[in-house]
Protein backbone atom coordinates (compact mmCIF):
# COMPACT_ATOMS: atom_id res chain seq x y z
CA UNK A 1 0.00 0.00 0.00
CA UNK A 2 1.08 3.57 -0.58
CA UNK A 3 2.79 5.61 2.11
CA UNK A 4 0.17 8.34 1.96
CA UNK A 5 -2.35 5.83 3.28
CA UNK A 6 -0.17 4.04 5.81
CA UNK A 7 1.54 7.03 7.46
CA UNK A 8 -1.70 8.72 8.60
CA UNK A 9 -2.97 5.31 9.71
CA UNK A 10 0.04 4.68 11.95
CA UNK A 11 -0.12 8.24 13.25
CA UNK A 12 -3.79 7.97 14.21
CA UNK A 13 -3.24 4.57 15.82
CA UNK A 14 -0.37 6.06 17.84
CA UNK A 15 -2.58 8.92 19.03
CA UNK A 16 -5.32 6.51 20.13
CA UNK A 17 -2.67 4.41 21.89
CA UNK A 18 -1.30 7.43 23.74
CA UNK A 19 -4.80 8.46 24.86
CA UNK A 20 -5.72 4.99 26.13
CA UNK A 21 -2.30 4.36 27.66
CA UNK A 22 -2.13 7.81 29.22
CA UNK A 23 -5.60 7.37 30.68
CA UNK A 24 -4.37 4.26 32.51
CA UNK A 25 -1.83 6.39 34.37
CA UNK A 26 -3.75 9.60 34.81
CA UNK A 27 -7.25 8.41 35.80
CA UNK A 28 -7.37 7.60 39.54
CA UNK A 29 -7.95 3.97 40.48
CA UNK A 30 -11.14 4.71 42.38
CA UNK A 31 -12.86 6.10 39.30
CA UNK A 32 -15.84 3.98 38.35
CA UNK A 33 -19.57 3.38 38.64
CA UNK A 34 -20.37 3.75 42.35
CA UNK A 35 -23.92 5.03 42.11
CA UNK A 36 -27.03 3.61 40.56
CA UNK A 37 -25.75 3.56 36.97
CA UNK A 38 -23.16 4.95 34.58
CA UNK A 39 -25.20 8.04 33.73
CA UNK A 40 -25.56 9.35 37.27
CA UNK A 41 -23.03 7.41 39.31
CA UNK A 42 -19.74 7.44 37.40
CA UNK A 43 -17.27 9.29 39.59
CA UNK A 44 -14.10 9.29 41.67
CA UNK A 45 -14.96 7.68 45.00
CA UNK A 46 -12.41 9.82 46.86
CA UNK A 47 -14.50 12.88 46.06
CA UNK A 48 -17.06 11.80 48.67
CA UNK A 49 -14.37 11.86 51.34
CA UNK A 50 -13.17 15.27 50.13
CA UNK A 51 -16.61 16.69 50.77
CA UNK A 52 -16.98 14.92 54.12
CA UNK A 53 -13.73 16.55 55.25
CA UNK A 54 -15.02 20.06 54.52
CA UNK A 55 -14.83 22.04 57.79
CA UNK A 56 -18.04 22.77 59.71
CA UNK A 57 -18.44 26.41 60.79
CA UNK A 58 -21.94 26.69 62.24
CA UNK A 59 -21.95 24.51 65.36
CA UNK A 60 -25.53 25.16 66.43
CA UNK A 61 -27.18 26.39 69.58
CA UNK A 62 -26.31 23.29 71.61
CA UNK A 63 -22.61 24.07 71.44
CA UNK A 64 -23.25 27.53 72.99
CA UNK A 65 -25.54 26.64 75.88
CA UNK A 66 -22.94 24.78 77.91
CA UNK A 67 -20.79 27.82 78.67
CA UNK A 68 -23.08 30.78 78.03
CA UNK A 69 -25.71 29.90 80.64
CA UNK A 70 -26.90 33.40 81.40
CA UNK A 71 -27.77 34.31 77.83
CA UNK A 72 -29.31 30.90 77.26
CA UNK A 73 -31.61 31.38 80.24
CA UNK A 74 -32.59 34.85 79.11
CA UNK A 75 -33.20 33.67 75.55
CA UNK A 76 -35.10 30.45 76.21
CA UNK A 77 -38.82 31.01 76.21
CA UNK A 78 -38.51 34.41 74.55
CA UNK A 79 -39.92 35.21 71.12
CA UNK A 80 -36.36 35.06 69.82
CA UNK A 81 -35.72 31.55 71.14
CA UNK A 82 -35.97 30.03 67.64
CA UNK A 83 -33.14 32.15 66.31
CA UNK A 84 -29.76 30.46 66.25
CA UNK A 85 -27.11 32.18 68.37
CA UNK A 86 -24.75 32.14 65.40
CA UNK A 87 -27.13 34.14 63.21
CA UNK A 88 -26.12 37.24 65.16
CA UNK A 89 -22.90 36.20 66.86
CA UNK A 90 -21.23 34.72 63.79
CA UNK A 91 -20.24 31.09 63.20
CA UNK A 92 -18.52 29.45 66.16
CA UNK A 93 -16.25 27.30 63.96
CA UNK A 94 -13.54 26.11 66.38
CA UNK A 95 -14.50 28.59 69.09
CA UNK A 96 -13.19 28.71 71.77
CA UNK A 97 -10.20 26.66 70.64
CA UNK A 98 -9.19 28.71 67.65
CA UNK A 99 -10.30 30.05 64.34
CA UNK A 100 -11.00 28.10 61.18
CA UNK A 101 -9.84 29.14 57.73
CA UNK A 102 -11.91 31.79 56.06
CA UNK A 103 -13.89 32.70 59.17
CA UNK A 104 -13.38 35.71 61.39
CA UNK A 105 -13.36 35.02 65.11
CA UNK A 106 -16.78 35.17 66.70
CA UNK A 107 -17.99 38.73 66.23
CA UNK A 108 -21.37 40.08 67.30
CA UNK A 109 -23.42 41.77 64.61
CA UNK A 110 -25.34 44.50 66.40
CA UNK A 111 -26.17 46.43 63.24
CA UNK A 112 -29.58 47.92 62.62
CA UNK A 113 -29.65 46.13 59.25
CA UNK A 114 -29.54 42.73 60.94
CA UNK A 115 -32.73 43.46 62.89
CA UNK A 116 -34.41 45.05 59.86
CA UNK A 117 -34.07 41.76 57.93
CA UNK A 118 -37.18 40.65 59.82
CA UNK A 119 -38.51 43.84 61.34
CA UNK A 120 -38.51 46.37 58.46
CA UNK A 121 -42.07 47.39 57.63
CA UNK A 122 -42.90 46.57 54.00
CA UNK A 123 -46.69 46.56 54.08
CA UNK A 124 -47.12 42.91 53.07
CA UNK A 125 -50.35 42.40 54.95
CA UNK A 126 -51.21 39.12 53.21
CA UNK A 127 -47.99 37.27 54.11
CA UNK A 128 -46.29 36.12 57.28
CA UNK A 129 -43.87 39.01 56.84
CA UNK A 130 -46.80 41.33 57.52
CA UNK A 131 -47.45 39.56 60.82
CA UNK A 132 -43.97 40.42 62.12
CA UNK A 133 -43.69 43.28 64.61
CA UNK A 134 -42.12 45.87 62.35
CA UNK A 135 -40.96 49.46 62.15
CA UNK A 136 -40.58 51.91 59.30
CA UNK A 137 -36.85 52.30 58.94
CA UNK A 138 -37.08 55.97 57.97
CA UNK A 139 -39.31 56.93 60.89
CA UNK A 140 -38.28 54.83 63.89
CA UNK A 141 -35.13 56.11 65.68
CA UNK A 142 -33.14 56.53 62.47
CA UNK A 143 -29.64 55.06 62.25
CA UNK A 144 -29.58 53.97 65.88
CA UNK A 145 -28.73 50.45 66.90
CA UNK A 146 -31.81 48.57 68.06
CA UNK A 147 -29.97 46.89 70.94
CA UNK A 148 -29.68 50.25 72.69
CA UNK A 149 -33.35 49.97 73.72
CA UNK A 150 -34.40 46.38 72.91
CA UNK A 151 -32.73 43.34 74.41
CA UNK A 152 -32.04 41.03 71.48
CA UNK A 153 -31.98 37.89 73.65
CA UNK A 154 -35.42 38.65 74.98
CA UNK A 155 -37.13 41.65 73.36
CA UNK A 156 -39.83 41.75 76.03
CA UNK A 157 -37.16 42.70 78.60
CA UNK A 158 -35.47 46.07 78.70
CA UNK A 159 -31.91 46.29 77.52
Amino acid sequence: MKRHVLNPLWASLAIVGVIIGGGRFLVPDDFGVHGRNFTYGYYRLGSLQDWKDFPVKYQGRDSCTECHEENTRLNSGSVHADIQCENCHGPAANHPDGVADGVQSVSIDTSRELCLRCHAYLGYTNSSRGAMPSVEDSRHRRRRECSGCHNPHNPREES
Binding site: F31, H34, G35, R36, T39, Y40, G41, Y42, Y43, R44, S47, L48, D50, W51, K52, D53, F54, P55, V56, K57, Y58, G60, D82, I83, Q84, E86, N87, P91, D101, G102, V103, E113, L116, R117, C118, A120, L122, G123, Y124, T125, N126, S127, S128, R129, M132, D137
Partner: protein, 256 residues
Protein backbone atom coordinates in the same frame (compact mmCIF):
# COMPACT_ATOMS: atom_id res chain seq x y z
CA UNK B 1 -11.34 -51.25 34.19
CA UNK B 2 -8.82 -51.34 37.00
CA UNK B 3 -8.46 -48.87 39.77
CA UNK B 4 -5.63 -48.83 42.31
CA UNK B 5 -6.17 -47.62 45.79
CA UNK B 6 -3.83 -44.66 45.16
CA UNK B 7 -5.84 -43.59 42.06
CA UNK B 8 -9.12 -43.95 43.87
CA UNK B 9 -8.00 -41.73 46.77
CA UNK B 10 -6.62 -39.15 44.35
CA UNK B 11 -9.83 -38.98 42.36
CA UNK B 12 -11.97 -38.86 45.49
CA UNK B 13 -9.96 -35.98 46.98
CA UNK B 14 -10.10 -34.09 43.68
CA UNK B 15 -13.87 -34.50 43.40
CA UNK B 16 -14.41 -33.31 46.96
CA UNK B 17 -12.24 -30.23 46.38
CA UNK B 18 -13.93 -29.42 43.06
CA UNK B 19 -17.42 -29.62 44.52
CA UNK B 20 -16.46 -27.54 47.58
CA UNK B 21 -15.03 -24.74 45.44
CA UNK B 22 -18.26 -23.49 43.86
CA UNK B 23 -19.96 -23.54 47.26
CA UNK B 24 -17.29 -21.33 48.77
CA UNK B 25 -17.87 -18.85 45.96
CA UNK B 26 -21.29 -18.13 47.41
CA UNK B 27 -21.32 -15.77 50.40
CA UNK B 28 -24.34 -15.43 52.58
CA UNK B 29 -25.08 -11.71 52.93
CA UNK B 30 -27.10 -10.06 55.63
CA UNK B 31 -29.86 -7.80 54.25
CA UNK B 32 -27.73 -4.74 55.08
CA UNK B 33 -24.74 -6.10 53.19
CA UNK B 34 -26.93 -7.04 50.24
CA UNK B 35 -28.41 -3.57 50.14
CA UNK B 36 -24.95 -2.00 50.28
CA UNK B 37 -23.76 -4.28 47.48
CA UNK B 38 -26.43 -3.02 45.09
CA UNK B 39 -25.61 0.57 46.07
CA UNK B 40 -28.82 1.25 47.88
CA UNK B 41 -28.79 3.42 50.96
CA UNK B 42 -30.95 4.15 53.96
CA UNK B 43 -31.32 7.78 53.07
CA UNK B 44 -32.78 9.85 50.24
CA UNK B 45 -32.52 13.48 51.23
CA UNK B 46 -34.96 16.12 50.01
CA UNK B 47 -35.77 19.70 50.88
CA UNK B 48 -39.17 20.70 52.23
CA UNK B 49 -39.75 24.43 51.76
CA UNK B 50 -42.76 26.22 53.19
CA UNK B 51 -43.21 29.49 51.32
CA UNK B 52 -45.98 30.50 53.73
CA UNK B 53 -43.44 30.70 56.55
CA UNK B 54 -40.61 32.50 54.77
CA UNK B 55 -40.41 36.20 55.63
CA UNK B 56 -37.35 36.93 53.49
CA UNK B 57 -34.75 37.59 56.20
CA UNK B 58 -32.05 36.03 54.02
CA UNK B 59 -30.19 34.49 56.96
CA UNK B 60 -30.17 31.14 55.14
CA UNK B 61 -28.22 32.71 52.27
CA UNK B 62 -25.77 34.37 54.63
CA UNK B 63 -25.22 31.14 56.59
CA UNK B 64 -24.73 29.12 53.39
CA UNK B 65 -22.16 31.51 51.99
CA UNK B 66 -20.09 31.51 55.18
CA UNK B 67 -20.45 27.78 55.87
CA UNK B 68 -19.47 26.77 52.35
CA UNK B 69 -16.81 29.43 51.75
CA UNK B 70 -18.65 30.96 48.81
CA UNK B 71 -17.04 34.38 48.22
CA UNK B 72 -19.28 36.66 50.26
CA UNK B 73 -19.40 39.74 48.07
CA UNK B 74 -19.24 37.99 44.68
CA UNK B 75 -22.61 37.87 42.84
CA UNK B 76 -22.80 34.08 43.14
CA UNK B 77 -24.65 32.01 45.71
CA UNK B 78 -25.64 28.41 46.29
CA UNK B 79 -29.07 29.25 47.62
CA UNK B 80 -31.19 32.35 47.32
CA UNK B 81 -34.53 33.88 48.24
CA UNK B 82 -36.78 35.43 45.60
CA UNK B 83 -39.37 38.08 46.38
CA UNK B 84 -42.59 38.08 44.38
CA UNK B 85 -44.89 41.06 44.43
CA UNK B 86 -48.08 40.87 42.39
CA UNK B 87 -49.61 44.32 42.12
CA UNK B 88 -53.31 45.00 41.69
CA UNK B 89 -52.81 45.70 37.97
CA UNK B 90 -51.74 42.06 37.56
CA UNK B 91 -48.03 42.74 37.06
CA UNK B 92 -45.58 40.30 38.61
CA UNK B 93 -42.45 41.86 40.12
CA UNK B 94 -39.61 39.51 41.02
CA UNK B 95 -36.26 40.35 42.56
CA UNK B 96 -33.49 38.79 44.59
CA UNK B 97 -30.73 41.35 45.23
CA UNK B 98 -27.47 39.49 46.01
CA UNK B 99 -29.63 36.37 46.31
CA UNK B 100 -31.44 37.96 49.22
CA UNK B 101 -28.26 37.76 51.29
CA UNK B 102 -29.00 40.99 53.18
CA UNK B 103 -32.75 40.50 53.38
CA UNK B 104 -35.34 42.82 51.91
CA UNK B 105 -35.39 46.15 53.70
CA UNK B 106 -37.49 48.26 51.33
CA UNK B 107 -39.97 48.03 48.47
CA UNK B 108 -37.54 49.22 45.82
CA UNK B 109 -37.44 46.66 42.99
CA UNK B 110 -35.00 47.42 40.19
CA UNK B 111 -35.30 51.13 40.88
CA UNK B 112 -39.08 51.07 40.96
CA UNK B 113 -40.66 52.02 44.26
CA UNK B 114 -43.71 49.87 44.91
CA UNK B 115 -46.48 51.43 46.97
CA UNK B 116 -47.85 48.98 49.57
CA UNK B 117 -51.32 50.23 48.61
CA UNK B 118 -50.91 48.72 45.10
CA UNK B 119 -49.90 45.26 46.32
CA UNK B 120 -52.36 42.43 45.73
CA UNK B 121 -50.19 39.67 47.11
CA UNK B 122 -46.59 39.06 47.96
CA UNK B 123 -44.48 36.15 49.11
CA UNK B 124 -40.91 34.92 49.34
CA UNK B 125 -39.63 31.74 47.68
CA UNK B 126 -36.39 30.23 48.99
CA UNK B 127 -34.57 28.35 46.25
CA UNK B 128 -31.43 26.36 45.59
CA UNK B 129 -30.37 23.07 44.07
CA UNK B 130 -33.31 20.67 43.82
CA UNK B 131 -31.10 17.54 43.95
CA UNK B 132 -33.13 16.05 41.11
CA UNK B 133 -33.57 12.33 40.67
CA UNK B 134 -32.69 12.70 36.98
CA UNK B 135 -30.20 15.56 37.15
CA UNK B 136 -29.51 16.93 33.64
CA UNK B 137 -26.38 18.63 34.96
CA UNK B 138 -24.88 15.21 35.70
CA UNK B 139 -25.89 13.79 32.33
CA UNK B 140 -24.04 16.46 30.38
CA UNK B 141 -20.73 16.35 32.28
CA UNK B 142 -18.15 15.14 29.73
CA UNK B 143 -15.59 14.01 32.31
CA UNK B 144 -17.58 12.44 35.16
CA UNK B 145 -16.83 15.29 37.56
CA UNK B 146 -20.37 15.60 38.86
CA UNK B 147 -22.47 12.76 40.14
CA UNK B 148 -25.34 11.64 42.32
CA UNK B 149 -24.52 9.89 45.58
CA UNK B 150 -26.54 6.97 46.88
CA UNK B 151 -28.41 9.41 49.13
CA UNK B 152 -29.57 11.40 46.11
CA UNK B 153 -27.17 14.28 46.73
CA UNK B 154 -25.69 15.77 43.57
CA UNK B 155 -22.04 16.70 44.10
CA UNK B 156 -19.13 18.10 42.11
CA UNK B 157 -15.62 16.66 42.19
CA UNK B 158 -13.51 19.82 42.41
CA UNK B 159 -10.31 17.95 41.57
CA UNK B 160 -11.78 16.52 38.39
CA UNK B 161 -13.98 19.37 37.10
CA UNK B 162 -12.33 21.27 34.27
CA UNK B 163 -14.74 24.21 34.34
CA UNK B 164 -16.39 23.76 30.94
CA UNK B 165 -19.71 25.01 32.38
CA UNK B 166 -21.94 22.60 30.42
CA UNK B 167 -23.69 21.71 33.68
CA UNK B 168 -24.30 25.38 34.50
CA UNK B 169 -26.22 25.71 31.24
CA UNK B 170 -27.99 22.36 31.65
CA UNK B 171 -29.58 23.15 35.01
CA UNK B 172 -33.12 24.45 34.44
CA UNK B 173 -33.15 26.03 37.89
CA UNK B 174 -30.00 28.12 37.60
CA UNK B 175 -28.65 26.43 40.68
CA UNK B 176 -25.06 26.13 39.40
CA UNK B 177 -22.47 28.83 38.98
CA UNK B 178 -18.79 29.19 38.22
CA UNK B 179 -16.78 29.38 41.43
CA UNK B 180 -14.58 32.47 41.17
CA UNK B 181 -11.86 31.08 43.44
CA UNK B 182 -11.65 27.38 42.61
CA UNK B 183 -12.44 27.94 38.90
CA UNK B 184 -14.84 25.00 38.79
CA UNK B 185 -18.61 24.61 38.70
CA UNK B 186 -20.18 24.94 42.13
CA UNK B 187 -23.57 24.33 43.69
CA UNK B 188 -25.39 23.30 46.85
CA UNK B 189 -23.88 20.13 48.34
CA UNK B 190 -26.83 19.62 50.71
CA UNK B 191 -24.08 20.47 53.24
CA UNK B 192 -22.78 16.95 52.70
CA UNK B 193 -20.10 17.50 55.37
CA UNK B 194 -22.82 18.40 57.88
CA UNK B 195 -25.55 15.83 57.14
CA UNK B 196 -22.94 13.06 57.24
CA UNK B 197 -22.11 14.16 60.81
CA UNK B 198 -25.79 14.28 61.77
CA UNK B 199 -26.00 18.07 61.61
CA UNK B 200 -28.59 20.04 59.67
CA UNK B 201 -27.60 21.89 56.50
CA UNK B 202 -26.51 25.45 57.31
CA UNK B 203 -29.55 27.06 55.65
CA UNK B 204 -31.98 24.78 57.47
CA UNK B 205 -30.31 25.42 60.81
CA UNK B 206 -30.23 29.18 60.28
CA UNK B 207 -33.95 29.41 59.46
CA UNK B 208 -35.82 30.55 62.57
CA UNK B 209 -39.23 30.06 60.98
CA UNK B 210 -38.99 26.46 59.79
CA UNK B 211 -39.40 27.54 56.18
CA UNK B 212 -36.48 25.38 55.05
CA UNK B 213 -36.43 21.80 56.29
CA UNK B 214 -34.86 18.55 55.18
CA UNK B 215 -36.53 15.19 54.86
CA UNK B 216 -35.16 11.70 54.58
CA UNK B 217 -37.68 10.17 52.21
CA UNK B 218 -36.67 6.62 53.14
CA UNK B 219 -37.47 7.22 56.80
CA UNK B 220 -41.25 7.18 56.98
CA UNK B 221 -41.17 8.39 60.60
CA UNK B 222 -39.37 11.59 59.63
CA UNK B 223 -41.85 14.44 60.35
CA UNK B 224 -40.83 16.31 57.18
CA UNK B 225 -41.28 13.13 55.12
CA UNK B 226 -44.76 12.74 56.58
CA UNK B 227 -45.60 16.25 55.41
CA UNK B 228 -44.40 15.44 51.88
CA UNK B 229 -46.35 12.17 51.87
CA UNK B 230 -49.61 13.52 53.25
CA UNK B 231 -49.88 17.19 52.34
CA UNK B 232 -50.20 19.04 49.03
CA UNK B 233 -46.70 19.75 47.81
CA UNK B 234 -45.42 20.98 44.47
CA UNK B 235 -42.06 21.07 42.73
CA UNK B 236 -40.56 23.70 40.46
CA UNK B 237 -40.53 23.16 36.68
CA UNK B 238 -42.15 19.74 36.81
CA UNK B 239 -42.45 19.61 33.01
CA UNK B 240 -38.69 19.33 32.57
CA UNK B 241 -38.93 15.79 33.92
CA UNK B 242 -35.89 16.10 36.17
CA UNK B 243 -37.84 14.92 39.22
CA UNK B 244 -36.76 17.72 41.58
CA UNK B 245 -36.47 16.80 45.24
CA UNK B 246 -37.20 20.20 46.75
CA UNK B 247 -40.85 20.05 47.72
CA UNK B 248 -42.75 23.30 48.19
CA UNK B 249 -45.77 24.10 50.31
CA UNK B 250 -47.86 27.06 49.21
CA UNK B 251 -46.30 27.49 45.78
CA UNK B 252 -48.04 30.12 43.65
CA UNK B 253 -48.57 29.65 39.91
CA UNK B 254 -46.59 32.83 39.25
CA UNK B 255 -43.42 31.21 40.63
CA UNK B 256 -41.04 30.09 37.91
Amino acid sequence: MTCSRRDFLKEAAGTAAASALPLSAFVLLSPEEARAAVADSKARYAFLIDTNKCIGCGLCVKACKIENEVPYDAPVTRNWVERYIITKDGKVHIDSPMGGRDGFLDNNMYGEEIDPEDIAKTFFVPKGCNHCDNPPCVQVCPVGATYQTNEGVVLIDRDWCMGCAYCIMACPFGARFFHPVHKVADKCTFCYHRIKKGLLPACVQACAFGARRIANLKDLDDPATKVIMTERVAVLKDLYGTKPHAFYLGLDHDVR
